[in-house]
């Protein structure tokens, strides 16, 4: 058995050992101080080049989110919501997407903490900055929507909505299209743990497992144990969200989404299974929420949750792949770049008021009635 197989087996076994009750704080969320210095050299399974790529994207994603938060605090945007704390899961996910348009490629029904996924797919940080500033050049909504509400039809990324959990409904439809048309394309849907209380989550489980009509959907729950201000353990009695998949015979796993390699291999295993078997798979990824729910709760750094980027950087340093200085330089590079982007975007015009009626219908411009 290879190391990878051993790891997969161990992670898989976690799912089938329900805990009697939810602990007050999951182990993955406990703050972890730098252990690398005193730990033995970290062993990676991924190649150094791949690790460096993932790290680069994680830093890019984090710096982008922190830039967006700064923009909010400097009144260069009305609202911020995003995904700092989910990079260790989201970057490997974005790198695993079969990117393109139409049912032969992967569809993405995402929630608003998914910048890491999109950056890993090749999205430009300035697009997010433009949406934050609601300028006319915002490529995702033309200045109409909140930050991190992307839409990229060319990559099958459906418009991200603020409505919690409805993406698990629309995922059914692209899943049906892909079930009918065959091929390798799959549907990816993600959302938080609190939203799984909505009936839409149950709809996705029911519809994706209709006998002989199973759907190729990767059902992801990023579990940060919060619903805005409400702790999950005050509302949910289930030991693991992923356990709900078992009632539908959906293969599922609960993983530490703060660990890059655990996420990477779990995502690859799930995607390989779906592409081949054309059946759903559920991943519950335990992640952190490093700046609270949104700007509505202050968007300040939370210090009592572990930082997946710090963890990864400790591992990279321990393994001798990157030095602290190299990583600090990278962060500074992105900080400078994105500050410049924000300055540039600040000078860009807002959408013209005359455009309010544009696109109510496909291809329509101006007032339509």
């Amino acid at each position: 058995m290879t190391m990878e197989e051993t790891q997969l087996k161990r992670s898989s076994a976690q799912t089938h050992t329900p805990k009697p009750s939810r602990p007050p704080m999951a182990a993955h969320l406990a703050p972890t101080k730098a252990k690398a210095a005193s730990s033995p050299k970290h062993q990676f399974r991924l190649a150094p080049q791949q690790l460096i790529q993932i790290h680069d994207l994680m830093v890019k994603s984090r710096v982008l989110e922190e830039r967006l938060i700064r923009m909010y605090k400097q009144s260069d945007g009305y609202f911020w919501i995003g995904g700092p704390g989910e990079e260790a899961f989201n970057i490997p996910l974005g790198l695993s997407v079969k990117k393109g348009q139409g049912p032969q490629f992967d569809y993405l029904h995402l929630h608003y903490r998914s910048s890491g996924i999109l950056l890993a797919m090749g999205a430009e940080p300035i697009s997010f900055i433009r949406q934050m500033k609601n300028v006319a050049s915002d490529p995702y909504s033309g200045g109409r929507n909140f930050a991190n509400h992307a839409s990229i039809k060319a990559w099958n990324v459906l418009p991200i909505t603020s409505t919690i959990e409805t993406q698990y409904q629309t995922a059914i439809g692209t899943g049906i299209a892909q079930m009918r048309e065959g091929g390798q394309g799959l549907t990816i849907v993600n959302g938080g743990d609190a939203g799984t209380a909505e009936g839409d989550f149950a709809s996705c489980l029911v519809w994706s497992t209709r006998p002989n009509e199973e759907l190729p959907i990767l059902i992801i729950v990023t579990n940060n144990e919060w619903g805005i201000s409400t702790p999950a353990n005050t509302q949910h009695g289930e030991s693991h969200i992923a356990d709900r998949a078992r009632a539908f015979n959906i293969k599922s796993r609960t993983i530490n989404g703060n660990d890059v390699e655990e996420s990477f291999f779990a995502i690859r295993e799930a995607m390989d299974y779906i592409r081949k078997e054309r059946k759903p798979y559920m991943i519950e990824a335990r992640v952190s929420r490093l700046y609270g729910h949104s700007s509505a709760s202050g968007a300040n750094l939370v210090t009592n949750e572990s930082d997946p980027l710090t963890l990864f950087e400790d591992q990279l340093e321990s393994a001798g792949i990157l030095s602290k200085q190299e990583m600090a330089d990278l962060r500074e590079k992105y900080n400078t770049e994105m500050l410049e982007m924000a300055k540039r975007v600040k000078e860009e015009p807002l959408p013209d008021a005359s455009t309010i009626y544009d696109h109510v219908y496909a291809g329509q411009k101006g007032k339509y009635w």
Binding site: G102, D138, I172, W207
Partner: protein, 355 residues
């Protein structure tokens, strides 16, 4: 002489064969039942869904996003209300993404009173639906329009809502759907034998479809079904044939009523409506949804704002009583939604008002 259910069925068949319609689904839509009103019998792409209206709308949205043309049915509009946020999202996709995405999909649902459906099978949905931007909304009042409006929906790149007036689904048309057998009792029997599923075991039954042809009613175009001089009635769906009957009835009293069938509620044919009102100078809007924040109130508002000095009488809205539902007893239903006598009375009242 197809009835409206047959007309919709034939339109869906035409869509399957010619317009890329690939999925027709909803609760009991597939075999063996073919829909609780038999609208989807014998079609080749129908299937039964879980009993989950939100899932039905969500699935339709995803199919639309994937460019896979679908018609999703919610069995009664009384059960569509728990999908409102999804309907809003569907109508919003093009606008919210600044034109990046569009969502071709059609939802059909039976609406209104007239079959003694009691509290949970008699609701209307036009007032609520016309409050959701981004959709095109149609509602036929006869089989030929039912056919032509469905084809229009299937050709449209936007979400389309097809409201089926359930009281009219068994009413036969006076105009021939292109390709259907002759409008004779023999033709009617022949069509029934071809496309109505038999009672009992249907497992071996297959529809034999007539050679249907394209006939599209342009969305946004109303129809003038009676010419008149003294007063205009604007209606749609179940109350439209009643308005025509009322017009015929008061003609003997010397009141000449023009009747407009809106056919599509959004976008709607304001040009035809406004020209008619300028001519007759009196107008009654008739529909059966509840009267408060009724779609007809919007039309009255526009009439007042744009045509005030053309009017010789106050514009009137005749609509359903503002009550939670329609009671089962005959007396209750007849008092809850506009009936023939209510329309006749309204015509007399508005016609008699002194300028």
């Amino acid at each position: 002489m197809a009835n409206m259910a047959q007309a919709i069925r034939m339109a869906l068949h035409y869509g399957e064969e010619n317009l890329g319609l690939k999925e027709i689904f909803g609760e009991d839509v597939g075999p063996p039942l073919g829909g609780v009103f038999t609208v989807t019998q014998g079609l080749k792409t129908t299937w039964n869904s879980p009993l989950d209206e939100r899932g039905i709308i969500g699935a339709a949205m995803g199919l639309g996003a994937a460019g896979r043309r679908c018609v999703a049915e919610v069995q009664f509009c009384d059960y569509i209300y728990n999908t409102i946020d999804l309907l809003k999202l569907a109508g919003m996709q093009s606008w919210a993404s600044n034109g990046d995405w569009n969502m071709p999909m059609t939802v059909m649902t039976p609406v209104g009173s007239g079959i003694r459906g009691s509290i949970y099978h008699s609701h209307s949905f036009d007032a609520t639906m016309t409050h959701i931007p981004g959709w095109k909304i149609v509602m036929p009042s006869n089989p030929l329009d039912a056919y032509g409006l469905m084809l229009a929906c299937l050709k449209d790149p936007n979400p389309t809502m097809y409201l089926k007036p359930k009281a009219l689904l068994r009413i036969r048309g006076q105009e021939k759907i292109p390709g259907e057998p002759d409008l004779t009792p023999e033709g009617e029997k022949q069509l029934k034998e071809m496309i109505d599923a038999p009672l009992g075991d249907r497992s071996k039954w297959k529809a034999r479809w007539p050679q249907l042809e394209d006939y599209t009613v342009e969305i946004g175009k109303a129809a003038k079904v009676r010419e008149g001089e003294h007063l205009t009635i604007v209606s749609y769906g179940r109350t439209l044939p009643l308005a025509v009957q009322a017009a015929d009835q008061v003609a003997a009293e010397g009141i000449s009523v023009e009747v407009i069938d809106m056919r599509t509620l959004w976008p709607y044919d304001w040009q035809m409506i406004s020209e008619s009102i300028r001519k007759t100078r009196r107008v009654i809007y008739v529909n059966e949804d509840t009267e408060v924040t009724n779609f007809g109130e919007h039309l009255v508002r526009r009439t007042v704002e744009e045509l005030f000095y053309d009017l010789e009488a106050r514009p009137k809205l005749l609509a359903g009583a503002f009550i939670p539902g329609i009671g089962l007893a005959d007396t209750l239903e007849m008092a809850s939604a506009p009936q023939l006598n209510h329309i006749v009375d309204a015509i007399r009242e508005v016609a008699a008002e002194r300028a």
